[in-house]
Amino acid sequence: MTAIDELSRPATDADVVGGVPARRVAAPASTDQAAALIAESAGQAVVVRGGGTKIEWGTPPDRLDLIIDTHRLTGVVEHAAGDLIAVVRAGTPLHELTLGDQQLALDAPLPGATVGGTVAANLAGPRRMLYGTARDLLIGITVVRPDAVVARSGGKVVKNVAGYDLGKLFTGSYGTLGLITECVFRLHPRAPAAATVTCRAGDPDRAGRLLAAVRSAQVAPSALEVDAEPGQEITIAALVEGTPDGVRARAATLSGLLGGEPGKPGVAGGTGGTPPWWGVLPWPDGGVGLKIGVPLSAVPDVLRAAADAGVRIRGSAGTGVLFGGLPGEPARAAADAVAALRTAATLASGHLVVLTAPPPVRDLADMWGPVPGLALMRRVKDRFDPDRRFAPGRFVGGI
């Protein structure tokens, strides 16, 4: 039996990536098996799939033979609680991680998302404001290169500057540089208490003032989120985590800040739990999903432009990383809205990426927008994957 025969099955109608059917699906259960599989399938085009929650993101692959599915590459290899680190196999669903009174502080906006997929897409949720993203939490990585060589970088200690940090390069690489099989993360203790303060924030100007007030206050929020539906009043929510006494005091400060403007709408949610939209990506099935990054002071500009373009905005106003959602039909209107919002983001020294969209919108809209450093990125891709085996065409500039 070859590794491929043993580990794979013929693809079904469900094994499609961006409308492109695969021929086979293989599920290695170890890094060694994955390396054997990748060696044997030399020349074949590969797309890596974890939970499949973001498989429709990015541009469709130019060609596709083999899906490498990571659902057998699961489990916590090591949890060194005293060292606040965990070694986790890439196919492990984030919500299945059990780390006692510690946590991998990555919010998973999509239920069922795996560790590897979350790293490969660099997707983060509200608490990125305090804890950072996969990029910041990943301290070591094991990958199988497109030429089947197994390589590691980083290690199991948080503080480590030996050699290049390949984890950074693989984070957000959309599976175009190889297969991630194992990740080492720094962990954080779970906070004993948490509270969320939610308020109605009026228009983009007022929302901007409130956001700035929270950032300059001494409340050290773990998250500062905004939700803005076109035609509706904007909502802001802030999360604080810590000791019970500390959280109570900080939430009170927040309530004062967010509800304190006389004559304006007051505090809606008080210090209860998170609102229902918290950490949920703002686009419907079959809709268009956007990721927007802007400097903090430009968040109100994005809110204004989005309201004009009919785009719902939700995300981390505290870091300037927002998600946008709009219906996929009619396709021309959706593509125009994307272009208008991208112009606003770009004018503010930011960027806008279309994460997902129905095919008619993809045909009309530029998925990635301008990408500084693209020539250098192509050179990196050429070195790692000279035959363009891994996710060909899925990434920026046709990488």
Binding site: A151, V161, L169, G293, S349
Partner: protein, 484 residues
Amino acid sequence: MIEVLANRMRAILGPGRVISDRQELRTYECDGLAHYKVVPALVVFPHDAAECAAVVGACAQAGVPFVARGSGTGLSGGALPHADGVLVVTAQMRDIIEVSAADERAVVQPGVINLQVSRAAAAGGHYYAPDPSSQQICSIGGNVAENSGGAHCLKYGFTVNHVTGVQVVTPDGELVRLGGRAPDAPGYDLLGAFVGSEGTLGVATEVTVRLTRQPETVRTLLAAFATTDQAGAATSAIIAEGVIPAAVEMMDALAIEAAEAAVRCGYPAGAGAVLIVELDGPAAEVDAQTEQARRLCERAGAFEVRDAADAAERALVWKGRKSAFAAVGRISPDYIVQDGVIPRTSLPEVLHRIGEASAARGVRVANVFHAGDGNLHPLVLFDDAVAGEAERAEQVSGEIIDLCIEYGGSITGEHGVGVDKARYMPRQFTADDLDTMQLVRCAFDPDGLSNPGKVFPTPRLCGEVPGRRTGAHPLQEAGQAEIF
């Protein structure tokens, strides 16, 4: 040959900013790791990104290697010149281009001193979090190259977590922007790969950093213990209770003795170890955590715990710690500063092993370290005037790095690999790991002109096909089908 290049540099920069005189060149023969010395062929001082690009472009055209140098404070020889190459000194690129409190960003030239960024940001209520011990003199460009840390990176992370954009000159002389003012730029995170690449991927010409809100409250405890074991146990207990202090620093008896001799920091007498535990953040959190930390220190055996009452007392506590490296000069004519990392939980065991190595070779070791993240800075003491002492000190220093590798740590936590530790890289990483890092190097610098000889021991040339790619996979060689 080099004279032709020197003339080209003078044409780009003007005659006053190119050094080619042998005596003057000698000033730049080393960085902070002074026992490695190489006189460069040329030293140049660009004032802006365009000049820097022109200088690097001229090197690329001539096929001459170049080495970037900021303040020259690095402790791994990362800015050690190349004998036939150009030393590009960025120290005169020292403009703070912009500080934006509203965006929580500062944009600076690479020669700007680390502490100046915090000073410039203070009016807006912010500071720049990475704080290497040399922050009064080290440059942001050097920090980017080395991914510098500092005492407070336990809570706040390293340079790479605080830089959102760089403009770099690639080794072929092109100016490229990686990242920017906004987070999460589309495409590969080349910014993340560039930070910490020790000058081997190009030269940073402008850096955009994230500013951090100044904490409402800072509290600093100084806890004295009879032994380092007790201090280590206290550290573990604090972390285990879910408290992440801004910093947890440890010094052993010999390090305390040196600090007292140098700066009279007034640490409790008779301590075998002291722990500095600093907590910062909202007052309501910090007060509770400080009491928790105090209780845990006492439970672990602290015979005295002081709570610095004000900024002056806090400064005195830190003075002992921050002067420790230099202070060792008071008790020993010569010393080696080592930098290695171990998992925090191995601390007591590794300290005992260091003690054994020290006793076996008859070499004193003063231990100063970032206990919170397991980053050791043993100071290996010797007298170069005594025959054989330097060699024995080198042996002990090397044995400490061996221990870091044995315990699953790292050969460097913040000083970098540079020229000093390249030989250890094959012990921490496999040939395949290093080969993979070379892929990145070759994408940026196919001709190997940017700071050659650093980080990697004898790298393969970029044109070479690595050996393992020429052979088939064992399964293929066994005659098993490779297509389906």
